[in-house]
């Protein structure tokens, strides 16, 4: 009896969490006149991919995706590179000192991005990097660095000290030790950090909005939020839902494949903060 109740509750929780996502997909698959039918139809009477096609043909949605990929990909690579340098150095300090440095770094991570928009904009405008991919990549790197350092530091710490000694004997430079030994050995952590940082960058909104002001540089979230028609009645809800579905499906797939590590990474990341 108690079990059944629990399953029932679980079902409700899942429905609650997934409903908006499913609803988006269902709307995206409706032909445009059915999107605007009253009363609402729950399962599309006719499936159509008209909306998906329109998103790409009528609007530069492909371009938005490309922008997002460039920025998120670039930021992920840069973050991992810088973070592993920092984390590797932290590893050579004693644990207490390293933890204290990390704490300070993490204070930066907790600031809501909305408050960082102005300082970032001012600095990047001075550097003439507003509306450049590199400006946004730099900002995202700054934003995600504390988290990445934390993850990598934890992983590097677990490597046995004997490895260093062996490497030293073999004549590895410190950089060589990082790139040829520490990083390959921490591949699982590296990849999960990469995935999480990528998702954070893919999802980020306010910095993308302020630092990439022209339409051809919009990332996917900004592009979607700017989708509009000539009037309230013409807001292309079918297309918007198609765009939303297209943006969210890859994220869900990644999470689905890596869910165990994602949860672990997140909890550890949040806990130490």
């Amino acid at each position: 009896m108690k079990k059944i109740l629990l399953y029932l509750l679980m079902g409700l929780v899942i429905l609650y969490c997934l409903f908006p996502f499913f609803w988006t997909i269902l709307t995206a698959l409706k032909p445009s006149d059915e999107v605007f039918s009253v009363p609402v139809t729950y399962l599309p009477e006719k499936f159509s991919i008209e909306n998906v096609k329109n998103v790409f043909s009528k609007r530069p949605f492909g371009r938005y995706i490309l922008n997002s990929l460039i920025v998120a990909g670039g930021a992920t690579a840069l973050t991992l590179w810088v973070a592993s340098l920092i984390a590797f150095h932290l590893r050579s300090l004693d644990l207490k000192k390293a933890t204290r440095i990390q704490r300070w770094l993490l204070i930066g991570a907790i600031v809501p991005p909305a408050l960082l928009a102005i300082p970032f904009f001012v600095v990047l405008a001075k550097l003439m990097l507003v509306n450049h991919y590199f400006g946004l990549i730099l900002s995202y790197t700054a934003l995600n660095l504390p988290f990445a350092v934390w993850m990598l530091h934890a992983a590097f710490r677990q490597l046995p000290k004997e490895l260093d000694e062996a490497a030293l004997m073999d004549g590895f430079s410190p950089m060589g030790r990082l790139f040829r030994i520490a990083m390959p050995l921490s591949r699982p952590t590296l990849s999960i950090t990469a995935v999480l940082v990528f998702i954070f960058c893919w999802n980020e909104f306010i910095l993308a909005l302020t630092l990439m002001p022209t339409q051809l540089k919009y990332t996917v979230p900004v592009g979607i939020s700017m989708l509009s028609g000539a009037s309230v009645y013409e807001i292309p809800w079918g297309e918007i839902n198609a765009a939303v579905a297209l943006t969210t499906i890859p994220v869900i797939l990644i999470i689905a494949v890596l869910q165990r590590w994602v949860i672990e990474g997140l909890t550890t990341g949040a806990m130490k903060g």
Partner: protein, 654 residues
């Protein structure tokens, strides 16, 4: 080591180089932003221009319909140091852009005798401090369209208008009037016509704010009456120009307040020949006035080829180009001579009438901070129309708010904190949002974590589903929520009606409480998973033996929750709480996409205000100052949370 360092240095250099665009073309490239080029008028002007000047490449960038958005695009481009070369600007931007030094004075190219060939109001509004900064391309004035076939004598006064609405309109088939009621600049154009029509004004001769007046209250009352009596459909509160036109075009209203461009479109609709224009209505005994609008071209300061830009301006404001814009786009010319032009008179016989209205058009207050003043007015006019502010309160709030702003700009930032009306309002909203959302997120998160921690089948699947809302982009899902809360097509109203919780569809996003509820609801959905994940980790850290021994002692679930689980979870709850409070207070993307802070500022939070200060009102410094304060407040809050939620055993040094 050295080799590695050199190699990495090389990679960085390459990366940086890759990101700097290289342009190598001898052609001068110019850009301007305008609305979508429906009818292809600009395309034709530009094509002709290219034929004459093959060495200049002109790009017309199709911006959004909303003029506010286009203004933001220009401001951001100025601030970024790489402005769009040609500034296609609304009358009201001129003073501000010029004051900021973003525009090139055109005096040498555009002398007095040339200026006199244009309409006087447009030229007057193109000046700032005795210099001219733009050449008018198209003029605009607000006026009243009426159905000639249904109304024999068009109204002049409010009273006549009221009488006609009561006798001739028949809602919902045919309403009295449609206008622009959304919270944006267009609303102020409408409002000013009522204010002027009542004999009021925003700034008196001494540039003093005078809005706490009988005239202002009367104007607001009359506008409110139009909505409340149902002379206008409630949906005008979401209308801009285009929406009102579409509504009127379907024959669903007797009158429409709109700009001259509508005439062209109406003449290609079933209403052809059934529509007349007159100056806008006024209070008996007062004079009517239309708001002057209009667009013109200016040159951004600091670009490399101002002569090329001037060539385009000269071309685009020539009689020929204005004629193309008129024929294809319905733009009202700014050259006086064109009103006698035979082609134009043939196309638009009503221009004789229009010319008279144009000569009587009144510009909006010419003030470098007009945009901000207007933003304040918008908020209160909108609040009156939505019904969350009474006209007398609104009038005094407007007066206080505008004067506090005009004064506040003169005060230092610390003093300004005390008088900043917007600040107080947005702080209140931020607190409300945080207090409404965080407790729910924590309790719901705890509940989810407890359920997920129960030994059920399919744990992997369950966790995955709960994780999903967290992983999806907030801004994108805000769009999905906007769709679900839509009225009448949204699924939420439908579900609630099916299960009988509500009888009629609710206007979620266009009522203040509804919008706040929607925002809180969407935020709870989005962030509960985050809390769940953290608390789940906490639950798993509780040793099984403890739980078991407590159960053996006969402690039921409530007892275990109270005496074991919650105390053990405190460190986890604390972290979740800190994160959630900070991020709920700093919320931006969800609200910006879902409601834009509306209706009538009821969901505008501090982050939105700071964003507006920095990127719309051009007060980067003050915005930054508020950011620092906000940050300080957040840090203090976290410290308080940590102090009050630390258990005794945790204080023991480890």
């Amino acid at each position: 080591m050295k080799v590695e360092a050199r190699r990495t240095g090389l990679i960085v250099t390459l990366l940086i180089l890759l990101c700097i665009p290289v342009s190598a073309s001898s052609q001068v490239a110019l850009r301007m932003i305008g609305p979508e080029d429906i009818g292809g008028a600009w395309a034709e002007v530009i094509r002709n221009f290219h034929e004459e000047h093959p060495d200049i490449k002109m790009n017309y960038i199709s911006g959004p319909w909303s003029t506010d958005e286009r203004q933001n695009m220009y401001i951001r481009s100025f601030l970024s140091g790489n402005p769009f070369e040609l500034v296609y600007m609304d009358v009201i931007w001129t003073a501000n852009f010029a004051q900021r030094g973003w525009l090139l004075p055109l005096d040498s190219w555009f002398p007095q005798e040339e200026q006199e060939k244009f309409l006087p109001g447009d030229i007057e509004a193109s000046h700032y401090k005795r210099h001219i900064y733009r050449v008018p391309v198209r003029s605009d004035v607000g006026m009243l369209y009426y159905r000639k076939d249904l109304i024999s004598e068009p109204p002049e006064s409010w009273e006549e208008f009221e009488h006609l609405c009561r006798t001739t309109s028949n809602p919902p088939e045919r309403y009295g009037i449609v206008f622009q009621g959304m919270q944006y600049e267009g609303l102020i154009c409408n409002y000013l016509e009522y204010l002027w029509g009542a004999g009021g004004t925003v700034l008196d001769e001494n540039e003093e704010v005078c809005l706490e007046t009988r005239e202002n209250i009367e104007a607001l009352r009359f506008m409110k009456k139009i909505i409340e009596e149902g002379w206008a459909p409630r949906s005008v509160l979401t209308f801009q120009e285009q929406h009102s036109l579409e509504f009127f075009e379907k024959g669903k209203a007797l009158f429409m307040r709109n700009w001259p461009y509508a005439w062209n479109r109406l003449n290609h609709s079933p209403l052809k020949g059934k529509v007349g224009i007159v100056p806008f209505i006024h209070k008996a005994g007062q004079k009517s006035a239309g708001t002057l609008g209009g667009w013109g071209l200016g040159i951004a300061q600091g670009m490399k080829h101002p002569e090329a830009a001037w060539k385009f301006i000269e071309f685009a404001t020539s009689a020929n180009a204005q004629k193309i814009l008129h024929m294809k786009r319905g733009a009202v010319p700014t050259r006086k001579s064109l009103f006698d032009d035979t082609d134009i008179q043939k196309e638009s016989p009503h221009y004789k009438e229009l010319y008279k209205v144009l000569l009587r058009a009144r510009p909006r207050p010419v003030h470098p901070d007009y945009v901000r003043v207007s933003a304040i007015l918008q908020k209160h006019v909108s609040a009156v129309l939505v019904g969350i502010e009474r006209p007398p309160d609104a009038a005094s709030a407007m007066d206080r708010s505008v004067s506090s702003y005009v004064q506040g700009k003169k005060l230092n930032w610390f003093r300004r904190l005390a008088v900043d009306y917007d600040l107080h309002r947005t702080v209140k909203n931020t607190l409300l949002f945080t207090i409404l959302s965080v407790p729910f997120e924590l309790s719901l998160g705890l509940l989810f974590a407890l359920i997920l921690n129960a030994p059920l089948r399919g744990r992997v699947m369950n966790r995955l589903s709960v994780l999903i809302p967290w992983a999806l982009p907030t801004a994108v899902m805000a769009m999905a929520w906007q769709w679900m809360f839509n009225n009448p097509f949204g699924v939420i109203n439908d579900v609630l009606m099916r299960i009988g919780l509500i009888q009629e569809p609710l206007n979620w996003l266009s009522s203040p409480q509804g919008a706040m509820f929607a925002a809180v609801f969407a935020d709870i959905w989005k962030t509960t998973p985050f809390v769940t994940i953290i608390l789940l980790a906490g639950l798993q850290s509780i040793p099984k033996e403890l739980t078991e021994s407590l159960s053996l002692d006969g402690a039921g679930f409530p007892k275990r929750l109270l005496h074991l689980i919650l105390p053990m979870l405190i460190p986890f709850i604390r972290i979740a709480l800190i994160f959630r409070v900070i991020h709920a207070a700093g919320i931006f993307d969800l609200i910006w996409v879902l409601t834009k802070g509306g209706p009538a500022d009821s969901t505008r939070t501090l982050s939105l205000y700071i964003y507006d200060l920095a990127f719309r009102y051009d007060e980067l410094g003050y915005g930054f100052f508020l950011t620092l304060f906000f940050l300080l407040a957040l840090i203090l809050t976290s410290v308080v949370i940590v102090k009050t939620m630390t258990l005794r055993y945790e204080k023991v040094p480890r």
